[in-house]
Amino acid sequence: MRGEPTASPRVPEENLKFTLKRYSALPGFGISMGFTVFYLSLIVLIPLSTIFFKAFGLGWEHFAQAVTSARTLTALRLSFGTSLVSALINACFGLLVAWVLVRYDFPGKKLVDAFVDFPFALPTAVAGIALTALYSQNGWVGKHLYAMGIQSAYSPFGITIALIFIGLPFVVRTVEPVLQNLESEVEEAASSLGANRWQIFRMIIFPTIAPALITGTAMAFSRAIGEYGSVVFIAGNMPMKTEIAPLLIMTKLEQYDYAGATAIAGVMLAVSFVMLLALNLLQAWGRKNESL
């Protein structure tokens, strides 16, 4: 509306000094933040810090000894190795599943879509015994694999199968929304410029979903290295052969070797934190790519 020009209200100059919290007219910051910090410290931070205190308390020598023993190194190698393989397999098939669910129609699609989350919703112990039953020597799948010479239970193979199971939803659910939001116009443009479907996938679609794919794979990997319940039954837990790191921690606890357990836990926690950081960075990178 036209009228007299309004004089701009005098705004206090932006403090160049560092402000801890910007003023807000909404109430409740104190109480909500207070409870948040209190609860977080009580349930998460203080308990987690015991690992570090205990690990430090061991002194470097003991720590290094516990961590670099042959048994520990084998367990760590096994955990990381199987987690990586399973994460990569989930990357391939997860991408495929996400593609099929977003782009195609087929009878029962909604049901299938809902069940992708099944490994996430199923208690790990149930997954563990079910998979063991399936892949043991006389299990439905196991008997065929054993006939082919593949030892599917009590072996790294079995562990990897279990890790594929629990990591399945991560890639699918991370890639799905990005695929969903792809503009069809961009594909139409590429088509009008002469590209065939494979070229469109390779040069247009894949680069766009790559951040989400990597993020999902990293999530699956992160989950896999710490996994216990689904793996402990099918692994057989033979030291130096199928003993994964989380199980080794458990074993040491049962033997009251708290120092050893803590040392290994410390290493795994360090890796988890690095993964968490990497994931946050990946997600930020992905968000930057998406918005235009």
Binding site: E183, E185, V186, E188, A189, A190, S191, S192, L193, G194, A195, N196, Q199, M203, I204, P207, T208, N289, L292
Partner: protein
């Protein structure tokens, strides 16, 4: 390349977007598809491109029936309203895309691609921006990249879908003129879709006015503006005043005022609608036999013409446009009684409705 569209029909579910379109486009023509939302103009463009498959009818490129051919085989250059640039590629890679995806025997060498892309960048006046990303460009620049990208494959026809729709009016005007001069240079058959009648009239060789899936009129900008085929075209292509007139003893009356209508009417006609553009009404302080009385309600002289609203003696608001020098001479004031005369009215029978 000439294009012929023969009885094309397109349905989306129950909705009929195109109800039988016949159109012939000459080689080198710059054609505008003009119409309101839902008129089917974008659908028609996409059918020509091959992005939609027609449910009936055929499309011919230079005599060849391309109706069943896929997009990538038609050799069309398509420019989208929202550019559809490849976000993760530089300007250079965007423009080079069509050349890079060619199958091996036809694929140009790296040097050839490089030269061609830079040639196009110069053409669209974006040289120096080859290594930028789309996010770093303004709307107008992005649109020019989209155009260069489409031109890179040397298409037989250039199709633009509301190319300037998402840009501010000043940028729009500049790009409009630039498109016109580009077309004059390249002489490529070009079809563009717009809902902006000013744009269509300014840029195109020929305008196709569409409404509700049908072609209302085809012609040069002059033809569709000054000789509209029906009420819809007249109304769509500019501001318009509508008067209801009746006939008695061969004379036309608007309310109780006799008016002179150039067009003759048949003996049985009793009622008609008169359409007249605001600048074809004349205001004066002197009464004339065929002018009606009114009172000035509103004056706005901030513009290229002065816009005046007159409350007619029968109670309707009439829009009149008067050139600035005449306006100054008249020195009209709000509330003044004046007389309004029709200079050149278009008459449509009662059965034409908007």
């Amino acid at each position: 390349m000439s294009i012929e569209i023969h009885q094309v029909v397109k349905k989306f579910g129950d909705f009929k977007a195109l109800k039988g379109i016949d159109l012939k486009i000459e080689t080198g023509e710059l054609l505008a598809l003009l119409g309101p939302s839902g008129s089917g103009k974008t659908t028609l463009l996409r059918v020509i491109a091959g992005m939609e498959e027609a449910d009936g009818g055929q499309v011919f490129f230079l005599g060849d029936d391309v109706s069943r051919r896929k997009v990538r085989e038609r050799g069309v250059g398509f420019v989208f309203q929202h550019y559809a640039l490849f976000h993760h590629m530089t300007v250079f890679d965007n423009i080079a895309f069509g050349l890079k995806v060619r199958p091996s025997p036809l694929k140009p060498s790296k040097k050839e691609i490089h030269d061609k892309v830079h040639e196009l960048l110069k053409l669209v006046r974006l040289d120096g921006l080859a290594s930028r990303l789309p996010q770093q460009l303004s709307g107008g620049q992005r649109q020019r990249v989209a155009l260069a990208r489409a031109l890179a494959i040397e298409p037989k026809v250039l199709l633009l879908d509301e190319p300037f729709g998402s840009l501010d009016s000043k940028v729009r005007k500049e790009l409009r003129q630039w498109l016109r001069s580009l077309h004059d240079r390249l002489k490529m058959t070009t079809i563009f879709v717009t809902h902006d009648q000013e744009e269509a009239l300014e840029v195109a060789d020929r305008v196709v006015v569409m409404n509700e899936g049908r072609i209302e009129q085809m012609g040069t900008p002059n033809e569709v503006y000054h000789k509209p085929a029906n009420a819809f075209v007249y109304n769509f292509l500019g501001n318009v005043n509508l008067f209801h007139c009746r006939f008695e003893n061969g004379k036309a009356y608007i309310a109780n005022t006799p008016v002179s209508i150039k067009a003759g009417v048949g003996p049985g006609v009793q009622k008609a609608k008169i359409y007249i553009r605001p600048h074809l009404l004349e205001i004066s302080r002197e009464p004339r036999s065929d002018s009606f009385k009114g009172v000035i309600q509103f004056l706005n002289s901030a513009g290229s013409v002065a816009k005046i609203e007159v409350l007619s003696e029968w109670g309707e608001i009439v829009q009149v446009e008067v050139p600035q020098d005449q306006f100054r001479l008249l020195a009209l004031k709000k509330g003044e009684p004046v007389f309004v005369m029709l200079k050149d009215a278009q008459l449509f029978h009662e059965d034409y409705s908007i």
